[in-house]
Point group: C2
Chain length 305, copies 2
């Protein structure tokens, strides 16, 4: 069990949430039929000098919006808790506010309030985000053996930016553009059985989906979508499955949905790739290859899946 899982187990131990509001899902469902989520970004843990203040503001909204889209919902409102060292760095704050508002506009999120405080340590920003009410709420637990496994966009872009500094990779690392509107459309379509966003890498995240769905998976490594961010990188597989910060959708659907899924993705101008199949046998495997060793994403040496 990872350190984070241990912490969550202790914190939630005495009040286990009722499904489908599980700690395993990207968001929780609350009264009023609203999906809510919270994510923190800390200087030196979730970002460093590779990200400008504006990038941090953008990314905070983007990764939180990704959680809502991954549940098949559209984001609606947010609350910001921001802790900043003193003396206040006005330039940093201005940049952060500019990036934050650019992303709020892009993802259609309102900032309705928050809390600001002094920090004697690193910058810390926590965003709580909520969906518009109503509609299906897609979890990780509905996958069925025989379902096709799909991912949006390309994998490994943030990894290529972080580890190799490729321009397209750095662009995604700094300003990820998760397919939130497509996630909401997929939720509304009734086509998908399980969905989540890829934040910790396909290897970790697919294992979580399979565990929640009580299935296994067989993934075709040569099918994993490669984008320009990986140009010039010799060994791409570890970046594509074992780093994280992809903020793409991982979704499952019966083969009968193939055509409709492709049409829906095309209408959103998002690429969608079938990368394998869910299996009744519970192993989660790459065909003909072992899973590579995990990178320590988020700079956290304790992170394992």
């Amino acid at each position: 069990m990872s350190t984070e899982s241990r912490i969550i187990a202790r914190l939630l131990g005495e009040s286990p949430p009722a499904p489908p509001a599980g700690p395993g899902d990207d968001a929780a469902l609350v009264p009023g039929d609203v999906a809510v989520s919270v994510d923190t970004m800390i200087e030196g843990v979730h970002f460093d000098e590779r990200l400008s203040a504006a990038d941090v503001g953008w990314k905070l909204v983007a990764v939180n919006s990704s959680d809502i889209g991954a549940c098949g919902r559209l984001p609606d409102w947010s609350l910001l808790a921001l802790s900043l060292p003193r003396p206040l760095d006005d330039d940093w704050l201005d940049g952060f506010a500019a990036g934050l508002h650019a992303a709020l506009t892009h993802f259609g999120v309102r900032l309705i309030g928050g809390d600001t405080t002094t920090s004697p340590g690193p910058i810390s920003a926590t965003l709580t985000i909520a969906s518009k009410p109503g509609g299906p709420f897609i979890t990780r637990s509905g996958g069925q053996a025989g379902d096709h496994v799909w991912v949006t966009g390309t994998l490994g872009d943030s990894a290529a930016g972080f580890l190799h500094g490729t321009p397209a990779g750095l662009a995604w690392l700094r300003r990820p553009q998760p397919p939130v509107a497509l996630g909401a459309a997929l939720g509304a379509s009734g086509l998908v059985t399980a969905m989540m966003d890829l934040s910790d890498g396909l290897m970790c995240d697919l294992k979580r989906l399979c565990e929640a769905s009580d299935v296994g998976a067989l993934i075709q490594p040569e099918q994993l979508p490669v984008g320009p961010a990986l140009a010039g990188v010799s060994e791409v597989l570890p970046l594509q499955v074992a780093f994280g910060e992809d903020y793409q959708l991982l979704l499952c659907a019966p083969p009968s949905s193939d055509s409709a899924l492709n049409r829906l993705a095309q209408s959103h101008r998002i690429s969608l790739t079938n990368i394998g199949t869910l299996t009744a046998e519970r192993d989660v495997m790459l065909r003909s290859k072992p899973w590579p060793k995990a990178y320590f994403s988020h700079f956290e040496s304790s992170q394992v899946c």
Copy 2:
């Protein structure tokens, strides 16, 4: 303008929230008629060795619940974002979880999810809290000249604990018990015109209420309720008005509500004291005395009102 006000102005500048979801109120109103709020506690800023891990867990829920009660609502669900240094201090985490769950039970709040992360700096805990849906939403802005001004409980308890170490003072500093259920009952009663919780001291908070309501106030300093926490303290007024962390309710109501207010408070076994009157003239004054110099609550040298 305080540093916090400057930060809030910059962050909200480009998307001013619609009333009554103002940054000036203890909570914001969101679709579904739910009041939401967020508050952060950081080691070395909002707590130090005076508070055990269990106290921190309790207080995080208590101060957030206080914000919801101050809007005339009952709290319902919460999301926790917790950042902890590594290696993980299991004893601290166990204590925090115990205090957190004791307060969740006491205030009737469900913890439905959250985010945990490594921190290279101090412990930081952010709780987002939401009310049950429906019912009146009481703001700071409805006060009318001629209204009586009331406070619940006693003032200066946390100050006495923090500055003088009195036992009852330390008890309130560590485990505040804001009158959340009474706040919700006051909201539902239709008796009050304006309400907020006292987190930064009567001097600051009353000025905020008066500014929002476009009125002034004349407060009778000898009426400010004194409890056992102040026993043996020679000069109590600064502790009662200029420190903070009272987590009592400050409320206004027309004199015709006096009897009904008293009956409601008695039914909740909470003391309620008339401390003065709102005035058409916009000065906010203590009768026959100047306001004392502000303590720097929350250890924040930048905090002024």
